[in-house]
Amino acid sequence: MFKKVLIANRGEIAVRILRACREAGIESVAVYSEADRQALHVRYADEAFLLGPAPSRDSYLRADKILEIARKSGADAIHPGYGFLAEREDFAQACADEGITFIGPKPSAIAAMGDKMTARNTVIAAGVPVVPGTEGEGSLSDSELLAIAPQIGFPLLIKATAGGGGKGMREVKDLEEMPLLLQSARREAESAFGDGNVYLEKLVLGARHIEIQVLADTHGNVIYLGERECSLQRRHQKLLEEAPSPFVDEDLRRKMGEVAVKAAQAVDYVNAGTIEFLVDKDKNYFFLEMNTRLQVEHPVTEMATGIDIVKEQLRIARGRQLSYSQEDVQLKGAAIECRINAEDPYNGFLPSTGRIAHSLLPTGPGIRVDTGVYPGFEITPYYDPMIAKLIVWGETRAQAILRMRRALEEYKIVGVRTNIPFHQTMMDSHRFMGGQYDTRFVEERFSMLDSEEGREVRPDIAAILATLVAHQRTQRSAQIVRRGERDTSNWKWVGRWERMHR
């Protein structure tokens, strides 16, 4: 039974885990890079230790340093969060060797699901359908891949063997463009994961990305907590998730849930995990992969089921039984999560960096914000652009959408550009409202210029606002230049003027 948990992560997920520890009365240890000295997770933890310079490889990926800090601080458990070391079996094994509880699955399960071939073969044996491809056939050379590609058929996807999150992923329309795309996929995979190996996979058209959350304890109980709809993606990065999926009925949910449980049992899975499926328009589902960790989008499941997944993770890691049986799990209402990224939707979604000067969080009924930033915090180019997750719950999906619209309007972040306008446009899209979308929707049929849902457009108000701001600036600079007209110093005058105009 552990007493002190080291959180080997940063940002909103470190804060999320810290909160669960605090609620459970467990002591917490934060680790941080030089760029994160002022981060929220450092401030909220009972103890905090510096890992090293800002780049991940010198800080959050330094397994050796993290274990050393665990020893030094007396932490007897480590929660890896997501990303970084979360799916590294060698790290889980190193924890076990040190007698530290790794809050996650056994190293053997991480290895089995992390290795594509084993994962595929294991789930096929358990009776789970998979997408055709070369996944699991080892590291093939470019010429081998080019030879196999026509057998799989186009369009197909190049994916990084060590991958995730769309890095090192390319879509190939025909054989001709494939060599160049292989090259750039390998380059990106090499830089993101230190492993340039790739594999091919058939592209399922009109596909939805739907995943099942499972929880498994050490007593052999495995349950599923329903599905999450994650089809709204851009460059294979999820942008918005919801639970339940508007596409899944009770029957499909039960079938996919039971298959997910089988897949988890096939690798002796313990703790929280997620089985990702591609679902085609005829409701055929194919196993994609298992994420052997907590997911970014876990809050939508928490909101829709009322189950605190991180709390259950701690409970499972302490060797106790799950608090729920399958019959206890009921979906109530609908939850939506918008990932708030420091990206400018009006400028090709380019990352935006800078200091957060001002931030006003949405509050009120049914709203949850998971974030690791606050005014004064610097958004650096070193980590993920995700700065917050805005989650809402409503009695119905329609109410959740109305609530999300309201919350997005309330949410003000100044200092960096964010993708909030993207989400606002999405909430107004008829196809989104009707639940009619697949994984290609954002890239192929969605435009920031669409304003379908009779959104109030007021160019006159925009004109007045811009003119008044321009006028104010002209006046201000004119008055600063005109010397000697006032008896006080110009600087003092500007200070007063600014205070007056707050």
């Binding site: 980590y383 909430m427 007021r458 160019p459 004109a463 606002l465 003119t467």
Partner: protein, 165 residues
């Protein structure tokens, strides 16, 4: 002071009389206009109706973001507008284009060479930031000149990376 605000071709003539009074296209309005805690978030009350928006300065115009809608607004006083009319307007497709880093990052690759002819939309440079590789493309046809960075370089925002003649 009289201004002309242009949004996507539509012009508004706005005269600012004093802090609380303006005339928009001949109609007098009473306004109450404040910046929210000194930030580019502005609150405007016009005849009892309350509006809130971000107003960002852009290159030579303003960007007003309200309720998920972006309005690009060009604001000129009458003198500026006359000057522009006299100059003829329109940005020429000639002259030097300087590719600047849209954000700080790491130069991953430069798939072009100095002196190479390139077409509009061709990738000039790959810049990695926030773990994503961003392809920076040429806005027009031309010839690559003066590459100022090399793969592996860290660059600041707005740093000039290379030029297109």
């Amino acid at each position: 002071m009289k201004y002309i605000a242009t949004i996507e071709g539509k012009e508004f003539t706005i005269e600012v009389l004093d802090e609380n009074h303006i005339i928009v296209d001949g109609q007098a309005l009473e306004v109450d206009f404040v910046s929210v805690s000194g930030q580019p978030v502005y609150s405007l009350i016009v005849d009892g109706k309350s509006y809130e928006a971000y107003v960002y300065p852009a290159e030579d115009e303003w960007e007003v973001l309200r309720r998920g809608h972006m309005y690009p607004v060009k604001v000129e006083d009458e003198r500026e507008k006359r000057l522009r009319a006299a100059a003829g307007g329109g940005v020429a497709e000639t002259g030097e284009y300087h590719l600047k880093a849209p954000m700080p990052g790491l130069v991953v690759a430069i798939p072009v060479e100095e002196g190479q002819a390139i077409a509009k939309g061709e990738v000039l440079l790959i810049l990695e930031s926030m773990k994503m590789q961003n392809e920076l493309k040429s806005p027009r046809d031309g010839t690559v000149s003066r590459i100022r960075v090399k793969p592996g370089d860290s660059v600041e925002q707005r740093a000039t990376l290379l030029s297109v003649l």
